[in-house]
């Protein structure tokens, strides 16, 4: 694989072009070209693709896209170009596992192939929802970490200092980031699983100074945790991201290369998102030096990832990488329904069935459209992790008919999703036990409905 300094140099030596020209003369036409070249087409019905020829074609199209369009560095206005040989060598040398955590919690997340039914995928729970109350923050992290099936957590964000929201790039942002990390580790300590990894202790949107400051070892993060570094707009590799790569690669930390291809944006529709998402995973290894990938395609208008074409595209990108590269992947589901609603659970089950059978690891999602402060409800995440582990025992062909049954239960609600609950509305503040009977009833009913559809979800 070409070395990292050489990668950085490509941002200074590639062809000079404006951002508009990069999109209109390179990325957009090349994406259309590779989609046509490999005959990639969504039939507007399938949710879980089972056609391996199509899967491999998506991978080939993604390689061609990077080789022919390159990536764009806005600070230098240059295209970072890579040859096909360089790309394929990087794919062949990509990590196929990433080791996280310390002590008895130290484990490896592995790249998975589609239709693997005899392994246990990595189980990651949580999400970066804004939390207003610091006690709720610690309780939320403690509760998530205490679930024995959980291998790693994402933690909510605390955006305020002394009651005021921290402005981006301000000194208060540095302090808020440090506070988030310290309280996250405190929550994990209280769960009794001190070595449990946090794989997004710091939001990818944070400035490099905040991320580096919060990485100071005394604050509780370690190289064996995960650090997210994201691409900005489609195919854009900014200097802030490369600064983070320079730092986290140097300290030997797990880098989670992170991407959010937009359905309806430059990537276009389902086919474009499938190819671009796959291309990001290739770039995540080659450019970001990731040890795992955080795949988060999103609908540009609805700001969620549970539409039918998006689930198809996300699952397909997992299968393409799973069959051809083996890079470990988690996928962040942005769901329409609010926490604790049936809609939310149906969406999660459909998403999980599609991506886990296609080679993704298990990652519980969070509400997007119906998000509100403190709406990370840990027992949702346990239930969704259980669904993910149940899905891992199925093949894509077995998952597809269940997904087709699930989609009509939430598809029409995506534009106006059901509102959900907050942590405080579900738990007793002292015992942290569920006291909302409706919340538990909804979950029990969905578990029963899933069993009726052919997905038995054992309670962990």
């Amino acid at each position: 694989m070409i070395d990292l300094i050489e990668v950085f140099d490509r941002a200074e030596t590639g062809p000079l072009t404006s951002e508009t020209d990069y999109y209109m003369k390179r990325y957009v036409p090349k994406l259309a070209e590779v989609i046509a070249r490999y005959g990639i087409k969504w039939d507007k019905q399938t949710i879980v693709n089972t056609d391996d020829e199509l899967t491999d074609n998506v991978f080939s199209a993604a390689v061609d896209l990077l080789a022919e369009a390159g990536a764009y560095c806005p600070e230098t206005n240059r295209v970072m170009e890579f040859t096909r040989d360089e790309i394929l060598t990087a794919c062949a040398q990509a990590p196929t596992s990433a080791t996280f955590g310390e002590g008895r919690e130290r484990k490896a997340m592995r790249g998975r192939r589609p239709d693997t039914t005899d392994d246990r995928p990595w189980v990651h729970v949580g999400g970066g929802i804004y939390t207003t109350d610091e006690q709720v923050f610690v309780d939320t992290v403690e509760k998530m970490a205490s679930f024995s099936i959980v291998d790693s957590v994402s933690v909510p964000s605390i955006l305020h200092i002394r009651g005021k929201d921290a402005r981006v790039r301000s000194p208060q942002e540095v302090l808020a980031t440090i506070k988030t990390v310290r309280l996250a580790r405190e929550g994990i300590l209280r769960s009794g699983r001190v070595g449990l990894p946090i794989i997004n202790g710091i939001s990818a949107a944070s400035q490099p100074a905040s991320m580096f400051a919060a990485t100071y070892p005394d604050f509780g993060l370690r190289p064996s945790d995960g650090f997210l570094i994201d691409f900005l707009s489609e195919m854009v590799v900014g200097y802030e991201a490369l600064q983070k790569v320079a730092f986290y690669n140097t300290i030997g930390a797990n880098i989670g290369s992170t991407s959010t291809p937009l359905f309806g944006g430059y990537a276009g529709g389902a086919e474009g998102v499938a190819v671009t998402a796959t291309c990001y995973m290739i770039m995540g290894n080659l450019i970001m030096r990731g040890t795992y990938h955080y795949n988060a395609p999103l609908h540009s208008k609805l700001h969620l990832s549970s539409t039918k074409p998006l689930i198809w595209a996300i699952a397909l990108s997992n299968a393409a990488i799973g069959r051809n590269m083996g890079y470990p992947m988690v996928n962040l589901p942005y769901l329409g329904g609010g926490s604790g609603t049936k809609q939310y659970h149906y969406e999660m089950a459909c998403y999980m069935l599609a991506v886990v059978t296609s080679g993704g690891n298990v990652f519980s999602g969070h509400p997007a459209m119906a998000v509100q402060p403190d709406s990370l409800v840990p027992d949702d995440h346990r239930f969704h992790a259980e669904i993910g582990l149940a899905a891992a025992k199925l093949t894509r062909a077995e998952a597809e008919p269940i997904c087709q049954k699930l989609f009509p239960l939430f598809g029409d609600k995506l534009k106006e999703p059901d509102k959900g609950l907050t942590f405080q509305e579900v738990y007793d503040p002292r015992t942290k036990r569920i006291v909302n009977a409706d919340y538990q009833r909804v979950m029990d009913e969905v578990r029963e409905e899933l069993a009726g559809m052919g997905l038995e979800v054992p309670v962990s």
């Binding site: 999109y23 209109m24 957009v28 994406l31 259309a32 804004y130 964000s157 955006l159 929201d165 921290a166 402005r167 981006v168 790039r169 942002e173 949107a205 900005l232 707009s233 489609e234 900014g238 802030e240 937009l262 359905f263 309806g264 944006g265 430059y266 990537a267 276009g268 529709g269 474009g272 540009s300 208008k301 700001h303």
Partner: protein, 222 residues
């Protein structure tokens, strides 16, 4: 071919996002003596309306929208001088200063909005991403804008929208411009809280909002 035929041809060339065909049809219409203003109003803009509807219904996506917009802009480069030669004014509906607020590096939503504004007949000054609050204000003063439109994707950058509105107030300029806000992290409640004149949940709805705000601006100025 009557005027209706040429207008239909102009409309279709935009729907096809075919720049060469758009320019050839514009030339053909002008050669046939069709007024440049009518070429825009009765031919190109109806085509862009269809493109906007197709974008909203997810029949086409941003690349196709951009192709149609680029074809329209090429046609306008031919038509606007003709309109000025005949003593007329451009068909602009209003002047909009647009950007993503300070600290926010996200551009796609803002770019979609720019295209929809432009193809709906507005003059747009796109200040890009990570825009300093004074850039919004200075540009609005410079171009005598009707609207200042601000995007923010992140919860941590929302405050940049409030900063601009507060600064407009401190400079005694708040009533001079209509201010609209949008972006992933925004809500209607947020827009009301910071004193914006309007908020839209999508780029397409932002165009409707802009028309309403420009109309209100004209009404209050009268």
């Amino acid at each position: 071919m009557g005027d209706d035929g040429i207008f239909e041809e102009l409309k279709q060339s935009v729907i096809d996002q075919d720049e060469e065909k758009v320019l050839a049809t514009v030339d053909k219409a002008l050669a046939a003596g069709v007024d440049a203003r009518k070429v825009i109003d009765d031919g190109l803009l109806p085509g862009l309306d269809v493109i906007g509807e197709q974008f909203e219904c997810e029949e086409i996506f941003l690349p196709e929208l951009m192709q149609a917009a680029l074809a329209f802009q090429s046609a306008m480069a031919v038509l606007e001088p003709k309109i000025r030669e005949s003593g007329g004014e451009g068909p602009k509906k209003g002047r909009i200063v647009l950007g993503t607020v300070k600290g926010d590096l996200h551009s796609i939503g803002k770019n979609i909005l720019r295209l929809l504004f432009e193809t709906s007949g507005y003059e747009v000054w796109d200040l890009g991403i990570d825009v300093d609050l004074f850039k919004f204000i200075d540009k609005a003063k410079e171009v005598d804008a009707d609207i200042i439109a601000m995007s923010a994707l992140l919860t941590t950058t929302l405050i940049g929208q409030k900063d601009v509105i507060d600064a407009l107030g401190e400079q005694g300029l708040r009533d001079k411009y209509r201010v609209m806000v949008g972006g992933g992290a925004t809500t209607e409640e947020w827009a009301q809280k910071i004193g914006a004149d309007g908020w839209a949940p999508s780029a397409y709805e932002a165009v409707t909002l802009a028309a309403r705000l420009v109309g209100a601006q004209a009404g209050s100025a009268a």
